[in-house]
């Protein structure tokens, strides 16, 4: 039912496909092919690689698009119809049943969007390890999807939630994680602790090199799982009902 609800938002479905397409077109029209060097801080030894600025920007914007879209959808998934969901729980559903159904929908959304965005990317250039790029995008979606769940569970009103999502996604996945910014940034340890650091690193490493992604993989999973566990606890607490005792 949760998936049906999502699929009925036709405009949202259109935007899911339109936003990455627009992002890619704008990058390919405006970014030059100049070669730029940048560091890969998640790889041991922090090697410096040199690649086309346009390709680097395409990978970066692809991950940003996945992060933005999934965060908003996840927030919507958990924030909408809270009272109706609570009524379902009063009627007999376990809160975990509802949570699992929402997580299943989120997972489908992440896979679908990551595949689409990575497929679009391959129209512009051939990434070094395509399937790993899909995985990196999916992990970006996972981290930001779980952040969206957390915001949806915390904020009652949609506007507050949207602002919280814009706040972090803009700063993190939309700006600070760009390797060209990171190259000259001060206090890079701050950037390393932000949620999109590992997925962003993983997307760059897999798109342009054959280096190991183990650090990025573990970091992304840990970050996303932490967001997910906190959001589940808050949702479970908010959905809590008290069953009456039966007497004879």
């Amino acid at each position: 039912m949760t998936m049906r609800e999502l699929l009925r938002s036709r405009m949202a479905i259109i935007l899911i496909f339109l936003i990455p397409t627009l992002f890619y077109i704008l990058i390919s029209l405006t970014t030059p092919h100049r070669m730029i060097p940048f560091k890969l801080p998640s790889v041991s030894g922090e090697p410096v690689i040199e690649i086309s600025m346009r390709y680097e920007s395409l990978v970066f914007i692809g991950l940003a698009a996945v992060g933005f879209i999934v965060a908003f959808l996840a927030m919507n998934l958990i924030q909408k119809q809270t009272e109706a969901n609570r009524r379902l729980i009063l009627c007999g559903y376990w809160p975990m049943e509802l949570i699992i159904s929402k997580l299943a929908v989120l997972l489908c959304v992440i896979v679908l969007i990551s595949l689409f965005v990575a497929a679009m990317l391959s129209l512009f250039f051939r990434p070094e390890r395509f399937l790993m790029v899909v995985m990196a995008f999916a992990l970006g979606g996972f981290v930001y999807g779980c952040y969206g769940l957390l915001i949806g569970a915390l904020c009652k009103r949609e506007l507050e939630g949207m602002l919280f999502i814009v706040l972090l996604t803009q700063i993190d996945v939309g700006w600070l994680q760009n390797p060209t910014f990171y190259a000259d940034a001060q206090h890079t340890s701050i950037i390393r602790y932000l949620p999109a650091f590992y997925p962003s690193q993983m997307s760059m490493v897999t798109a342009f090199t054959a280096y190991s992604i183990m650090n990025s993989l573990i970091g992304s999973l840990l970050y996303g799982s932490a967001f997910m566990i906190i959001s589940i606890l808050i949702f479970r607490w908010k959905m809590g009902t008290r069953k009456q005792r039966i007497f004879l």
Binding site: A84, C91, T241, Q244, R245, I246
Partner: protein, 212 residues
């Protein structure tokens, strides 16, 4: 049908405060099978708080609520899924009630669904999205969902809102039918017309309940 002596809902000394503001001060009431009761009170008297405690949406500071059967709850606002169709809402709630898993317990929910669609005369909207329905039709769906699992007791919060006159009269036929089948009904409302239809009317004032 006269109410039996068997209790179905027992509320004992419910106390609830929000910060320093005391809302309910030792509310107690008893409902028996087949009984039709109402709780009335002015705005802010604590009706909604009491109702939320009765159905389990809010926890009381102290006191007990005990029930002896299945409870159907019809909230004031139509708490249904707007982006699903009427039929899908029935399916979702049937699944929540466990009617899909346990057919002996709840019977065939599709038959029950058809009964209520016919009874409240909105079968033509079965495949319509809830967001496209009028307020009155949403309220019919709201009530039908509370009745889907054949509850022993029905708790209704301002059930008449959005009803037209015909549906209002139909509603009283329904309550008579339910009572004859030994079901109990508790209505919470600002105003109660047709007071003679009720076995008991409780008045909630300043956090204290009195049987009027």
């Amino acid at each position: 049908m006269a109410a039996s002596t068997k209790p179905i809902l027992k509320v004992q000394d419910i106390v609830k405060s929000f910060g320093r503001r005391s809302v309910l001060n030792g509310v107690s009431l008893l409902m028996r099978r087949g009984e039709l009761s109402a709780i009335v009170g002015e705005n802010g008297a604590g009706k909604s708080t009491l109702l939320k405690i009765l159905v389990g949406l809010t926890v009381a500071d102290s006191g007990n609520v005990t029930t002896n059967g299945r409870v159907g709850y019809c909230p004031q606002d139509s708490l249904v899924f707007e982006t699903l169709t009427v039929k899908e809402n029935f399916h979702y709630f049937a699944s929540a009630y466990g009617l899909e898993r346990n057919k002996e317990d709840g019977g065939d929910w599709k038959k029950e669904k058809d009964v209520w669609l016919e009874y409240f005369k909105f079968k033509q909207y079965e495949n319509a999205l809830v967001s496209t329905l009028s307020g009155g039709t949403k309220q019919k769906l709201n009530l039908s969902l509370a009745l889907l699992h054949a509850p022993d007791m029905l708790i209704l919060d301002e059930p008449f809102a959005g009803f037209d006159w015909e549906t209002y009269l139909h509603f009283w036929e329904l309550t008579e039918g339910l009572r004859s089948a030994g079901k109990s009904i508790l209505i919470v409302s600002h105003f109660i017309y047709d007071r003679e239809k009720f076995d008991r009317i409780y008045e909630l004032k300043d956090g204290v309940i009195e049987c009027a």
